[in-house]
Subunit: 448 residues, 2 copies
Amino acid sequence: MKFPLSIDYISKIKKQIGVDTLNNATIREIVQISTIIQKEVDNEPLIRFDKGIPGLPPFEIGVDAEIKALKNGIAAIYPNVEGISDAKEQMSIFYKKFMNLNIGSELCFPVSGSLQGSFASFIVLSKIDAKKKKILFVDPGFQVQKQQCEVLSVDYDTINLPEIRGNKFEKILKGYFETGLYSAILYSNPNNPTWLCLSDVELKVIGELSNQFDIIVIEDLAYFGMDFREDYFTGQEPFMPSITKYTSNYILLFSSSKIFSYAGQRIAMLALSENLYKKEYINLSNTFKNISFGKALINETLDSISSGTCHSAQYAFAAMLQSINNGNKDCINALKKYEKHAKLTKNIFLKYGFDVLYNDDLGRPLADGFYYTIYHPKLDSEELLHSLLQVGVTAISLKIAGSKEDKGIRICVSQIKDEQIELLDARLSMINSIKEKFETNEVVIHYQ
Amino acid sequence: MKFPLSIDYISKIKKQIGVDTLNNATIREIVQISTIIQKEVDNEPLIRFDKGIPGLPPFEIGVDAEIKALKNGIAAIYPNVEGISDAKEQMSIFYKKFMNLNIGSELCFPVSGSLQGSFASFIVLSKIDAKKKKILFVDPGFQVQKQQCEVLSVDYDTINLPEIRGNKFEKILKGYFETGLYSAILYSNPNNPTWLCLSDVELKVIGELSNQFDIIVIEDLAYFGMDFREDYFTGQEPFMPSITKYTSNYILLFSSSKIFSYAGQRIAMLALSENLYKKEYINLSNTFKNISFGKALINETLDSISSGTCHSAQYAFAAMLQSINNGNKDCINALKKYEKHAKLTKNIFLKYGFDVLYNDDLGRPLADGFYYTIYHPKLDSEELLHSLLQVGVTAISLKIAGSKEDKGIRICVSQIKDEQIELLDARLSMINSIKEKFETNEVVIHYQ
């Protein structure tokens, strides 16, 4: 089979997976569709912009440390829920050095992926106060965190970041906070999928309002330092902008998946301020033995979920942090491949009449990094995903990331290979004929 | 400092950890107390019968496979929630060979420890039916599984196995099942902490009642094959007794922690029957996108909790299962150290006036294995834990395992070393003077 694929063929595959529209398909489903298509068009690679998986080899220092720990017999020994001291200490040093944050190693806890950290947090947050039952998400965002709330029957609302930046920001946020319905707000900085970055001014607003209304801020640092407009790894100003400068009501989630290309081992760290750790909520006594937030979260909740985090992976995590703390920038330099591929692929999309959906980052040009969003003025996002899939290019809709826009899709550049850049140009050049058929209504996608 | 320790010293340590009575202390707290004491009485080892951690090196075949996978760069690649095909296939082969169970590899899913499997199951089970909101636990049992329900605000009840065996078993169980309040029943076979083993007859009763009342059975195989009265690794009759012979309403939890001494890597597998996987519960639509039990459990719940299980550990798991499937009994033979230490230490306890609390396993002598329970006719369990701690011997109470008895404690033999067997004799010989002080009320423990 050759590209472009027929609409009928795509429909058949959608049916096979049980997907009605590509616009509603989860990342998992898009990956399933891609896998099937790839098998049937061999020698013709799909260009995969779908799942946000590392496109680099794992940071070797982690692999070496992990192998050493395994050789030392660590596989037999249960990990404590608190985590190994080396990993905790290096996390504390990292935060001091690159975020100018004082946080003790005893407040840093390993989790089986940042997702486990947010999952455990949502459980406790939903029980701290009889009225504050909801989580507020800054959207567009990571779909799985909202899925976590759904699975846990925890209510949530979303605010749409691109719509509320600038002058309106404080007023709108305050409107939500003062309802008294929210225990916490969660955002990722940089933002997945738009790659917008909350500014220091915006973080200050969030921090001050979180103090005023006693709302906990979950700052997801999945893409720490990947706003390449600044170098946040000098150990001096400018430090990575963070909520921790403005409030002690914080939980930080730091993942090894992207910065260290270590997604396979599910190793991340949750940290929280001493103030929040010790803070007592009477309402927790309905559920927990402990009424301090930290003990309910770590000793009861996290401990219940998996009884600690893979032991050898903690040694990898400690070694990788130590290396970066000691000034080794190899893994950061390697990440710049994403920046380069973002620039190159964006230009090709622009050449063929696409545009970047969110390209204004409070007056600054958007950073080039792991993700960006595109649209085509003549196609809605379903037509766009379809057209791209026909020419062998995969992506996910913004709808599943909670975007209010109907026209955008997310491009993740991590998987594209150098030699596929030219291929992308060739594939997009095929798209015009397809696009015209959509425009002239010659082709109508029959949504099932 | 020397043994025996004073009551005052023990009280001081309890206070430091925030423990009122040793009888109510969690395993975690007993471990904390032990760690402090060990530091202050160096050159005098504590004899640790507390936490059920492997006392053997990890099964080397797993370590080798894991190192190989890491060298192949697996650390960068997100694991699928379904798990790697080798691990799934070997689990399926294992069940066929050693349990005579036909279960497809597509129904076996890796989890970050069996605990993650029960945690995810409890979430879905609590939502399948508006009336069946509770879990029924066979006690005494593993405390953390009940803690999981508490954290999730899932109600549960317990039945006390030693009290209800034999003729009463069916009637009592039926009494619970016919209330219509339970979605599932959970037990471990062999049982932690008593090492009682549910017989084929009892499993048949559970299976038939579970069919009659549509109740799901979670069979926790944490100690698979460690009932050393039979060799369940011949690949022929007798097969390991299992609920799967009597009902398709089952979830199996198989852990690598004990059988492969692989507790550090948090790798286990959850399997469920095809029937249960596909079974649709309308009530699930209130929470999930999927109404089939399997998809709600795996694609939505498990996927939300940690987004897959440590990638390299899955390769270890596959290799260890494959080895045992191919007839390598090294890891099983190594486990017999526990059997030997159970026999030896029991005899020493008996010599000093202790007795085994649950020693009648439906007319058969109790198996020697990982755990057993002891009591002293003259001491309640608080006095017993205290006396033992004074002479440098740690254990946990049965109360925290949900036992109705006030006099028993759990002995886990995994950590004792060959050279400590004689030391145990010497330590217990010290206990008589302490015991007498308790008996004559010369010493009274002041519960704070």
